[in-house]
Symmetry: C2
Subunit: 196 residues, 2 copies
DNA sequence: CGAATGACAGATATTGAAATCTGTCAGCTG
DNA sequence: CAGCTGACAGATTTCAATATCTGTCATTCG
């Protein structure tokens, strides 16, 4: 724990905040705790983040962005759109399920954070549906998907698979049979995308 | 408010409990309140329901059953399965949305109740998917739907439309554009059901 | 005699006083 | 002088004392 002597940067504060959230949970993580973890006064933290809410929002954004990045690779791949769509949805599902299953407390912490940061979540969802839209549009152009409005269709796919990525369904991700349920939903959607 | 003199029956207790829940909310509704509303001692209530939890579960069941009954009519109709499927889903969506929109507090109360009564909810969901299965099977037999496993397919349809009936998405039901989102999802699913 | 009561023990919830936290800012420090 | 500090006011949280509730059951009532 030596290099506390480095200059205080927003990045270091965010890292310390994540650690404090991990240790104390969302209800008891205070700005004072973050400052203490960094060996500075809490006033210094307020030099980088106007409010506690802003600090928590920044942490939330970082966390959400990490998910987006992991998925954007699949969008950029050069393969058949149907395969990419299936992989994208499966990767999203698996990532969420792993996070919720491996460290339930941390996942609960981030669920609280996302609940209080509707704006950041909204941007994240816009980001994800934009990714999906690219895949759907590629499929439409390749003739493998049939749609007049790729964006609306992508949103429909995203909403229809909500059960497998929306945190409010996290409890159900451990139940036996979810795998099959996920596959059934995706199969049905892909058949719908292919059209007649 | 005269006929308090009738004999104390489980039915009357349930009605009083609903009223107390409506007035005080789920956190502050006590068995003592229910007894007071009925003009009896709380000991008498315990003669009909072993615990407070059992009483709340019974109230929850009643509420959920009312929804099921409203939908079962559509299942029994003698029309094309696709139309029945669309109407069934739309009716479910509209009913939930109306309940959540018209009396948000009461809806929140029942959301708390359903959260604490996983078993009753499970039975309710089994009931609803059984209804859906009947429609899907009728469609398969009529040749308008293509599926090897009507029950699994019905569950997939139910899960895919979760955003439009699961209480944890209630906030989103008031947003502009949900109508279109609902239609987009249902259209996609119906196309998937029709097969090639 | 069956149904209802109300006193009771242990569990849970409420309350208000004390402690802590948030956000600001005048002043210190390197 | 740019960045940090720590004292401060008002808001929020904690905690322990107090009140209420749950569930039981010996007793009463009709």
């Amino acid at each position: 724990m030596a290099p506390t002597s480095e200059t205080l940067t927003a990045e270091r504060i965010l890292e310390a905040t994540e650690e404090v959230l991990r240790r104390h949970g969302p209800a008891k993580a205070t700005v004072v705790d973050v400052a203490r973890a960094l060996g500075v006064s809490h006033g210094s933290v307020y030099r980088h983040f106007r409010t506690k809410a802003a600090l928590r929002e920044a942490v939330t954004k970082r966390w959400l962005d990490r998910t987006s990045e992991a998925l954007s690779g699949i969008v950029a791949e050069d393969r058949d759109p149907e395969g990419r769509l299936r992989d994208w949805l499966r990767t999203l599902f698996e990532a969420k399920r792993r996070k919720a299953g491996d460290d339930p407390e941390l996942f609960a912490t981030y669920t609280v954070l996302t609940d209080e940061n509707g704006t950041a979540v909204g941007e994240h969802l816009a980001d994800l549906t934009a990714q999906l839209t690219r895949i759907v549009r590629a499929g439409a152009e390749a003739g493998s998907f049939e749609t007049t409005d790729p964006e609306a269709t992508a949103r429909a796919v995203f909403h229809a698979t909500g059960r497998f990525h929306d945190p409010c369904h996290a409890r159900e991700w451990e139940r036996p049979g979810v795998e099959e349920e996920f596959t059934a939903v995706v199969d049905l959607l892909v058949r719908g995308l292919r059209g007649r």
